[in-house]
Amino acid sequence: MSGGGSAVELRAVSLAFGDGLQVLDGIDLGVREGEILALIGPSGCGKSTILNLIAGALAPTSGSVECFGQPVRGLNRRVSYMTQRDTLLPWRSALDNAALPLEIAGVGRRERYERARAELARLGVGEFGAFRPHQLSGGMRSRLSLARALLADAQIFLMDEPFAAIDALLRLRLQQLLVDVWSETRRTIVYVTHDLNEAISLAHRIVVLSHRPARILAVRDVDLPHPRDVAQIRTTERAQAMYWELWKILEGELQG
């Protein structure tokens, strides 16, 4: 891990929606700079809500959210958000989609295309720059979304089950790609998933959330070497022991 300072701090964060639905209940959570933190928990428990709070798309009912020591008020421009349903623009080519954050930042046409081409090539979709998103497979679209997120130059990546809709084998390759990208860039990543293996393979730490209203049930360090071979690491004894440990914590919540 690089840095090690605090990237995000949630202090005693609770959130209830207007209809009285209590989603989060007193969440205290710190995300260290340069780490991959996985959030796991039952479906609908509020994992995505935590990402929305960090992104500034939602404000807590009580408590505070800070990003690099600054309170989050309004949308947090230090983050980039990748969701399961990508936000690629269907009328733009892959290259133009990747270059969008540079275009918004006012980077000149030639430079932004050069950088977008280089990023697409690094992520293995360099040949598909002229294609529109509907002409790409799910895996390619994920790579394209990742390229756009990297070009946005955000310090924190919020990833909400970004590979959930992709078949298992391709998902492994994308997870490995994410680990490789992390090794090169050391970005802070907050990663929401339902998949315990995915959490163990990717993360430095795993936060287990309860059924709604979400509370933190456990925080576990993943004491496995990083960068990793995600396919191999999940077969290790330590990873399997961790899987069962996390499963035991979650099992009761799923029955509840």
Binding site: Y81, T87, P90, W91, P133
Partner: protein, 262 residues
């Protein structure tokens, strides 16, 4: 191998169609006045002669041009107004003010407005344009409203996280997201506008246009010329539809976005 086998079948189908058409024309030409009166239906030979006369004198082209000018001008003015009003109505306050007005306007039978336009503009072609505007404006308004409601809120957030301002979001996301809806409704708007133009020209028969000619020939009980004008209108409507739907379909294929009604 399938080609030669298919060709005779295609020829047979074409032959059958021509035979049916010839039979219809023959029956139409030969049926007695008591069954098909000339003033109401004309006769094929008379309709053909009327068509030749309308085309050779240039009247058909002048009338079509004037009708199409009103139609196109109506669409060109109605589309931006409808879209701008939809943007205004999408704002929180705008919806309270604009929505009731647009609902009443949409529900009001537009054909009734022509009497009002006669009072406002007298016997003038301005009334034709006004009717097209009032008929097509709401069509664009509702398409734009629908398009606005379909803009993905997550993509708006993604744009804002990348630092995009309102103008950039409007230009690069909102308007582009609405484009399939607007293109789809453009195809629908043309026949609607064309019909509204001809109706207005019929009710206020001034100028040289298809509606005025239709009105004149119908009042003179001239079945041949009336049917000839109807045929010209059919051909114009068909050409308009083909001219508009082809580029729309090409756009839909290029971008992979579905365009309603294309």
């Amino acid at each position: 191998m399938a080609g030669p086998a298919r060709r005779p079948r295609r020829v047979r189908v074409l032959g059958a169609r021509l035979a049916v058409l010839a039979l219809v024309f023959a029956v139409w030409q030969l049926l007695p006045q008591s069954v098909l009166p000339d003033y109401a239906f004309g006769r094929p030979a008379g309709v053909l002669a009327a068509l030749v006369s309308l085309i050779s004198s240039g009247t058909a082209f002048i009338a079509t041009a004037e009708t199409l000018r009103t139609t196109l001008l109506g669409i060109l003015v109605a589309a931006p107004i409808g879209i701008l009003v939809a943007f205004a109505a999408a704002a929180a306050v705008g919806a309270w003010v604009i929505e009731p007005v647009t609902t009443v306007l949409y529900a009001t039978p537009k054909v009734g407005l022509i009497s009002l336009f006669i009072l406002w503009f007298g016997l003038s072609t301005r009334g034709h344009f006004a009717l097209v505007l009032m008929t097509v404006g709401p069509v664009f308004y509702y398409a734009a409203r629908q398009g606005l409601s379909e803009v993905d809120p997550n993509t708006v957030i993604a744009f804002r996280l990348m630092g995009a301002g309102r103008l950039k979001i409007a230009r690069s996301l909102v308007i582009r997201s609405m484009t399939p809806n607007l293109l789809g409704v453009t195809r629908l708007a043309f026949p609607i506008a064309f019909g509204a133009t001809v109706f207005a020209e019929l009710r206020v028969p001034v100028g040289v246009n298809l509606g005025a000619l239709l009105s004149r020939y119908a009042l003179a009980l001239d079945g041949d010329n009336t049917v000839a004008i109807m045929l010209i209108m059919g051909v114009v409507a068909y050409i308009l539809d083909v001219a508009i739907s082809r580029p729309l379909r090409a756009y839909a294929q290029r971008t992979g976005t579905g365009i309603p009604a294309v």
